[in-house]
């Protein structure tokens, strides 16, 4: 099938809808928060490739996001100010980490897979805090000190940069859709249901999961690298093991196993955090996790399967695209 035909098979209105939403979001929310919604949404989508489609609950995607962010930031400060090169370093860092830890984690399923990834996340977090502190800035994070302009890309113009990030995100969303519509996406879903049946058809289920993890790492890494580039900073929180809980929440609130769910979850999570901070002031952080926990309980009980599936049912007569893939 030609590339054009493959593009036509993917659900372009969904991607156009997400892009339009993020184009107008800065009129209602601060631009930094808007870009955070976008990249946390992409990160949750990367997580959901493994969980929503592969039924592999990952507690290691913060590591992959943080590796992308730190890889890019370290490269900017110590190697080159060229944004393409530094963002590529960030992506490569995330993918290499996934390539190394994947064969160990993917030998396990269910709680063991999650715990092995969590253990690696804790290990790398400690590595970033202490032994690598001269390069990572330890728990202060790393401020990017030099970013060169690249062609028409002027990094001092944040508005222009914001819309460039949206364009790049559209490309990533198309890539994700192509992946999920490809035979690999079908195999990942099949592997989640019966690894033995997939193997008796002639496929190695390990390879299916491993390549899916590498794609997921690519998406997480690029989200982290672009986010750090936009902020001009990489924070230690990006690689913190507790960040994984937020990624899981975002995917579950929005609707795991759906394309739009992670973006809905990201918007709700961050809009709620922001609103509570505005209403209650900075001490709201004391209540924030509790209130968000309450929202999650409500969503899980009242809107089982996430908000996207609920909204999908409401507008089903208007928009009849399948929620999955």
């Amino acid at each position: 099938m030609s590339f054009a035909k493959k593009i036509m098979k993917i659900d372009l209105p969904q991607i156009a809808g997400v892009a339009a939403f993020f184009c107008i979001l800065p009129f209602f929310l601060p631009r930094t928060l808007s870009i955070q919604v976008l990249f946390y949404g992409l990160l949750a989508l990367a997580f959901d490739i493994m969980y929503g489609y592969g039924h592999l609950l990952s507690f290691g995607h913060a590591l992959l996001f943080g590796a992308g962010a730190y890889g890019a930031a370290i490269s900017f400060n110590f190697l080159t100010g060229n944004p393409i090169a530094s963002i590529s370093v960030g992506i490569a860092f995330a993918v290499v980490i996934a390539a190394l830890i994947g064969p160990i984690a993917l030998r396990k399923r269910d709680p063991y897979f999650s715990l092995v990834l969590m253990a690696f996340n804790v290990f790398f977090y400690q590595l970033f805090v202490a032994p690598l502190a001269p390069w990572t800035g330890s728990d202060m994070g790393l401020t990017i000190t030099k970013i060169e302009s690249f062609g028409i890309l002027n990094f001092s113009n944040k508005t222009f940069l914001y819309y460039t990030m949206i364009l790049l995100s559209i490309v990533l969303m198309i890539l994700t859709k192509l992946f999920m519509k490809s035979r690999f996406g079908a195999l990942l879903v099949a592997t989640s249901e019966s690894e033995r049946k997939v193997e008796s058809l002639g496929y190695s289920s390990f390879r299916v999961k491993y390549y899916s993890l590498l794609f997921s790492a690519f998406l997480s890494g690029i989200s982290g690298a672009l986010f750090a580039t936009f902020l001009g900073y990489s924070g230690i929180d990006f690689v913190s093991p507790t960040f994984n809980i937020m990624i899981v929440f975002i995917a579950l609130i929005g609707g795991s196993g759906t394309f739009l769910g992670p973006f809905i979850g990201s918007f709700i999570y961050l809009a709620l955090s922001y609103s509570l901070t505005v209403v209650l002031g900075w001490h709201s952080s004391v209540y924030l996790d509790g209130i968000i926990g309450l929202v999650i309980i409500i969503v899980m009980l009242r809107f089982r399967g996430g908000l996207y599936r609920y909204l999908y049912k409401v507008v089903k007569d208007v928009y009849v695209s399948e929620p999955i893939r």
């Binding site: 079908a186 099949a190 049946k197 193997e199 008796s200 058809l201 190695s204």
Partner: protein, 234 residues
């Protein structure tokens, strides 16, 4: 008659519990039946041949080549197709995606051949054409079984292993499967685990009876199978 599959002294244990004891089986170019009561080890035998279980000892040779302990995906690529008893499908995928997945595994990038074989599968099982875009979770038991057998027939199948393909199916559908199997029996060597005596008599040239993990009887010719010596063990 040339030998497609030869199993020598095959034993298998689940931990401490031995399930198969020094099995010796020869599968020729026509269908071979395996019968026995529940728990006799029939399904374990097929799974061991398919590479889904690792034998504790013995050898499995496919047309003379050793396939013992090979991973299941390599065994499948060599042309051994296994249709399990559970009529299992991937519930989130459509029937067409199932066919495409099997075609991709066995026919690689040859798109023309893949399209031809998918069309042929739908001619064999016309019921699949109607449900090709339905999620497999919505298919009936019979449709699921059609799908599984259609997937197993793609490419150059050197041995088709069917585990109770007619179990739980309506009589009319059982007849349809019987006709397809009888038709395919001339083209593809088959190992058929079945309880359906008329079907076995009709299709098989050789039948082995398995009891508590041991071969206790063999009908080694078409005439012996027709006489139904194996049936008294059921």
């Amino acid at each position: 008659m040339s030998e497609v599959l030869k199993i020598s002294n095959l034993s298998f244990s689940y931990g401490e519990a031995q399930v198969l004891f020094s099995i010796n089986i020869s599968v020729g170019e026509l269908a071979t039946g395996i019968v026995g009561r529940n728990g006799a080890g029939k399904t374990t035998l097929l799974k061991t041949i398919a590479g889904l279980e690792k034998p504790s000892s013995g050898k499995i040779l496919l047309e003379g080549g050793d396939i013992t302990n090979m991973p299941p995906w390599d065994i499948a690529k060599l042309g051994i197709s296994y249709v399990p008893q559970d009529k299992g499908v991937f519930s989130s995928l459509t029937a067409y995606e199932h066919l495409l997945m099997a075609a991709n595994a066995k026919l690689g990038k040859d798109q023309t051949r893949k399209d031809e074989e998918i069309q042929r599968a739908m001619e064999y099982f016309p019921g699949l054409r109607k449900v090709k875009d339905s999620r497999a979770s919505n298919l009936s038991g019979g449709e699921r079984q059609m799908l599984n057998i259609a997937m197993a027939l793609f490419g150059s199948t050197r041995l088709l292993m069917l585990d109770e393909p007619t179990e739980g199916l309506a009589p009319a559908l059982t007849r349809t499967f019987g006709e397809v199997l009888k038709d395919k029996e001339r083209e593809i060597p088959m190992m058929l685990v079945e309880q359906n005596v008329p079907l076995l008599r009709d299709v098989c040239e050789r039948v082995y009876v398995l009891e508590e993990g041991r071969i206790v009887h063999e009908d080694a010719s078409k005439d012996e199978v027709r006489n139904g010596g194996f049936a008294r063990f059921l």
